[in-house]
């Protein structure tokens, strides 16, 4: 029985707690026993993506009446892609349909935070700190995760893509920030005389700035070395990619570079086997007006994201079987469309999971339908599955994090059991 089968059986029977923690159940058939080859990519969609139009419950008879102008349907010009006869995928997500078919893509619907806030900033904060309702927690859960990974730390072991270090990655453990182009960079630090003067200037500085300097130099050196290394599996695409990277890197990341992240990120993963955890975020999901149905504003945002994820899966190649990609957003949106063809801030949302270990091809979660009585405050999904349940399942099973480790990553959270039950 291989790992995938194990997860599937577990999911199907739902008798086996995925967190049984009995040694036999945790035997991996891929990678090293300590999980060193396992990889995790977390993507946060800031602004509250409308999960009810990403994985649409078109089989619910209230769905189309709640959303007269934005409901997805099979008869539209851009028809929804049926998943299981009840849920359908947004047509702009087409690049991921093959993952659904080969059962490496799953969704957990009506996921969210136990904290009811409809503030973007608080909700993101809680999803990043991993401790909903408590503003005093200053570190992010990815930082706490990396802090206890058994693998030897390397400069690029954990990376955050983008110009600032987000809260989810903040904390005492080093997480490198790499520009969105994820490419070789020119720096004055490549010139020995200048570099040695600055190194001298920052030497012995035992504070956050001193630490950032040392980490910055290490990451810069590492990424340039990695990018210089040959990549046999990509011989055909290399030229085009490096040209694009140059373009993207010359000024700064633009939204146009957004759908290239999959190619660029997978490139880094392939070239540096020590990269284990990556985080990236994308904005623009706060669709209060005219979000559209199969086409329109939401579609225009989903399409490059799905394309990027598709490229990431393809680009990871053989690494995909050891990778889990988690896509989440701070909250979902109102079940009913608002007065302007958009949706307002809601509660529960859908989480997306991709990867070789994922018991895919299923929409999981305690789905209660869209009846008025099933909705939270007659308005939005009730978030019946805690987002930490899904992340814990991935960390425990896929990243081989111990139960004690999970208690550090999500303090005060008690794992209620396997979320992969339909």
């Amino acid at each position: 029985m291989n790992r995938r089968d194990f997860l599937k059986i577990a999911a199907a029977s739902s008798m086996v707690n995925l967190f049984g923690f009995h040694p036999g159940a945790l035997a991996f058939n891929t990678g090293k026993p300590d999980g060193t080859s396992k990889k995790l990519i977390v993507i946060l969609l800031r602004g509250g993506v409308d999960g009810l139009n990403v994985v649409a419950p078109y089989g619910d008879n209230r769905y189309s009446s709640l959303r007269p102008s934005i409901a997805l349907s099979k008869s539209e010009k851009a028809p929804l892609l049926d998943l299981d006869g009840y849920f359908g995928l947004h047509p702009a997500m087409a690049p991921l349909i093959s993952c659904w078919q080969n059962k490496t893509l799953a969704f957990v619907h009506d996921c969210g935070s136990p904290d009811p806030t409809r503030s973007h900033f608080d909700a993101q904060d809680y999803m990043e700190s991993g401790v909903p309702g408590q503003k005093s927690v200053s570190t992010g859960w990815i930082n706490r995760l990396v802090g206890q990974m058994p693998t030897k730390h390397t400069p690029l072991q954990a990376i955050s893509v983008g110009p600032v270090l987000p809260r989810i990655c903040s904390g005492p453990t080093t997480i490198a920030t790499v520009s969105r182009a994820i490419a070789k960079n020119k720096s004055v630090m490549d010139r020995p005389m200048i570099a040695s003067s600055f190194e001298d200037l920052y030497s012995g500085l035992n504070d956050d700035v001193g630490r950032a300097f040392a980490e910055g130099v290490a990451a810069h050196t590492a990424i340039n070395e990695v990018m210089d290394s040959p990549d046999a599996s990509m011989s055909g695409k290399n030229d085009e990619m490096s040209r694009e990277q140059k373009v993207a890197n010359a000024g700064a990341p633009t939204p146009k570079a957004y759908n290239k992240f999959g190619m660029q990120l997978s490139n880094l993963f392939r070239k540096d086997p020590t990269v284990q955890v990556a985080f990236a975020d994308f904005g623009g999901w706060d669709t209060h007006i005219r979000q559209g149905a199969g086409q329109g504003q939401l579609a225009q945002h989903l399409a490059p994201l799905a394309q990027g994820l598709g490229d990431l899966v393809t680009g990871l190649g053989p690494l995909y079987k050891d990778t889990t990609i988690l896509v989440m957003s701070e909250f979902g949106r109102t079940a009913k469309e608002n007065g302007n063809g958009g949706t307002d801030h809601g509660h529960g949302n859908v989480m997306w999971l991709l990867g070789g270990d994922i018991p895919g091809g299923k929409v999981y979660g305690k789905w209660g339908g869209l009846a008025s009585s099933a909705l939270h405050e007659d308005r939005d999904l009730p978030a019946s599955t805690d987002f930490r349940t899904v992340i814990s399942a991935v960390l425990g099973e896929h990243m081989n994090v111990s139960k004690a480790g999970l208690n550090t990553i999500f303090p005060g959270f008690s794992y209620p059991g396997n979320p992969f039950v339909s």
Binding site: T117, R118, V164, M193, L201
Partner: protein
């Protein structure tokens, strides 16, 4: 900064005197603010700087250069004793350090000669002048740049009309290109073709230019304005009431918004800021209130619209009460009802009626002209939004427990009054000001004091700032150099310290984007943060060093002129007070590298 082996400069300058923090005597006794008469009378013990003090411009130089320091020193002995008893952890600054600290916090960084100038003018007079920007003659270069920036000199309606025209041309060009070369559509996203080369060259560029013009003014003002505190406050309030250049029409409105709704009130009344931002087309568009209508409202084409609660929520969460300010989802919905109908332009029917009444004969093809004429007939020359009573919900509402009768536009003002006077708002604003000007984790006593002043003065920002700049917390040496510069502040402070300016702004704008702080580019309504945790990260620090080296070596092609002499700049950065370690590394470095090291030093990252 903490350096184990080398004690930093601030430890070396611990002076015998301590300012302020006088528990029982006078809670904020700062000798530098104290005129002899006040000091003797001591009648107004808890507030040395009265609104009147800063109400009249004080630009006269009344003290000899060294007098300030001597006076401070003389007074210090008795104050220090009391301070030791009151707050043993407070740390004093000498008068030079005070000047450096003040310049660091209320300007975008000292320029060569600034320290001497403040010394001459006196700290007190300098603050008084900065709190009254109209008393300071503005740099002619800044004034002419503002006058020559098209988008700062047209009504929002005209800017929108021009942008629409641009969009129309873009669409036509795109269609032409697609017709000529259908292949360009391949691989395009849903809902739109991939623009071809001609399209990119012509219109992509012109859109970029519109925004870039506004960014240049913003940068130039921060670098060159003599009204530095006003610029710093504009940065603060813009982020508080943030809108993004990347959302539709706001591409052409961000500059006007800052010019009309933020800067004039940056040191004025908070209620005016809330009112101006609420009624400005740029905010009405950004947070969608222009769409917020009574349910069942239909437009000319029969399209129905209804409630949109986006602005109502952020108005309470971000602009006034704060997220824990004590409002509920129900309050958001009720406030959204109050705000129904507050939009950008009147509808065509109303324009037509208005113009007919005014005797204007319209006609086909003259819509834009009609709209402009109508705009000019509105109060504020079309600067502000338009309340459309047809779209307003006239039912009764209950907001924060207060019954709001359905009176129309008046309801909005009633609610803004209520929100601005709410104690949560006072606390929220006080916290943010204290965090921006004093410390990332601001001292709670200061926050309380500022909140009390805010409430007592009905949200008078100048009075609150006067209190802040007179507080022992502001002058506590523990906070000196303790803030980490945002990318914007870092960049502007480099130009100020080196006496240079960008000739070509594009690379500077690109650098800010690379640092994660594109100008006018914060997508979300919470604006940019100003804390170390938001901006310090390894990659960003290396990029700052790259930028510093480009400017410091004078090799950066975007500079208008060479930086000033190194020694002069060194005396400007922290008043020449660097850590012995930095001093020694720079002194050993080859001359062409010295300025780069200074601009890329740990000292220069802080303020």
């Amino acid at each position: 900064m903490k350096r184990d082996s080398n004690p930093g400069s601030k430890q070396m300058f611990i002076a015998a005197m301590t300012l302020g923090l006088v528990g029982g005597l006078s809670p904020s006794l700062n000798p530098l603010f104290m005129a002899p008469a006040q000091a003797q009378a001591g009648a107004d013990g808890d507030r040395l700087v009265r609104p009147g003090d800063f109400g009249t411009p004080a630009v006269a130089v009344t003290t000899a250069p060294a007098a300030t320091g001597r006076r401070a020193h003389r007074r210090s002995a008795s104050v220090a004793d009391a301070s030791a008893a009151g707050n043993p952890t407070a740390r004093s600054m000498n008068s030079d350090q005070q000047i450096v600290h003040l310049l660091n916090r209320i300007t975008f960084g000292a320029r060569p000669g600034d320290v001497e100038r403040v010394k001459q003018q006196g700290i007190r007079n300098y603050i008084a002048a900065q709190l009254n920007p109209e008393s300071i003659p503005e740099s002619p270069e800044v004034l002419s740049k503002v006058q020559n920036t098209h988008l700062l000199n047209v009504s929002s309606m005209q800017a929108i009309a021009e942008f629409r025209q641009f969009q129309k041309e873009r669409k036509q060009l795109k269609q032409q290109e697609l017709a000529a070369n259908p292949d360009t559509n391949q691989g395009a996203n849903q809902g739109g073709g991939k623009p071809g080369k001609q399209f990119k060259d012509q219109l992509g560029d012109s859109k970029k230019r519109m925004g870039q013009e506004l960014m240049e003014v913003r940068l130039l003002r921060a670098i060159d304005s003599n009204r530095q505190l006003q610029e710093v406050m504009t940065d603060f309030w813009y982020n508080h009431f943030n809108i993004s250049i990347d959302k539709g029409f706001d591409h052409v409105l961000v500059g006007a918004y800052e010019e009309q709704a933020i800067r004039p009130f940056a040191l004025g009344k908070f209620r005016d800021l809330v009112g101006a931002t609420c009624h400005h087309p740029a905010m009405l568009f950004y947070l969608d209130n222009w769409q917020n209508s009574k349910p069942g409202t239909t437009d000319r084409k029969g399209k129905e619209s209804g409630i949109n609660e986006n602005y109502a929520r952020e108005l309470m969460e971000l602009h006034t009460l704060g997220v824990d300010g004590g409002y509920t989802q129900k309050d958001v919905q009720e406030l959204a009802r109050v705000l129904t109908g507050l939009g950008i332009t009147p509808d065509r029917r109303q324009i037509g009626e208005g113009l007919r009444r005014a005797g204007f004969q319209g006609g086909r093809g003259r819509q834009a002209e009609m709209q402009e004429r109508f705009a000019q007939s509105l109060p504020g020359d079309g600067k502000w939004g338009f309340f459309n009573s047809n779209k307003h919900d006239f039912g009764e509402k209950v907001v924060l427990g207060q019954r709001i009768a359905g009176t129309g536009e008046q309801e909005i003002e009633q609610c803004l009054d209520m929100l601005c006077r709410h104690p949560s708002t006072a606390h929220h604003i006080a916290f943010q000001l204290a965090q921006y000007f004093v410390a990332d984790t601001p001292p709670p006593a200061l926050v309380d004091k500022l909140a009390a002043k805010f409430t007592a003065t009905d949200g008078d920002i100048k009075a609150v700032m006067a209190t802040l700049l007179d507080s022992p917390e502001f002058w506590d040496g523990r906070y000196k150099d303790d803030k980490f510069k945002s990318p914007f502040r870092y960049t502007v402070s480099i130009f100020r310290a080196t006496g240079t300016e960008p000739r070509d702004f594009q690379p500077v704008i690109g650098f800010l984007r690379l640092q994660g702080q594109p100008l006018y580019g914060c997508l979300t309504p919470d604006g940019y943060k100003n804390t170390q945790s938001a901006w310090l990260n390894p990659d960003a620090l290396i990029n700052r060093i790259n930028f510093a080296t480009g400017v410091g070596s004078g090799k950066a092609k975007f500079l208008a002129g060479a930086p000033l002499d190194f020694n002069q700049i060194r005396d400007t950065v922290n008043g020449g007070m660097l850590s012995p370690h930095t001093e020694s590394v720079i002194s050993k470095a080859p001359p062409p590298l010295k300025l780069s090291l200074l601009m890329g030093s740990p000292e220069f990252m802080h303020y």
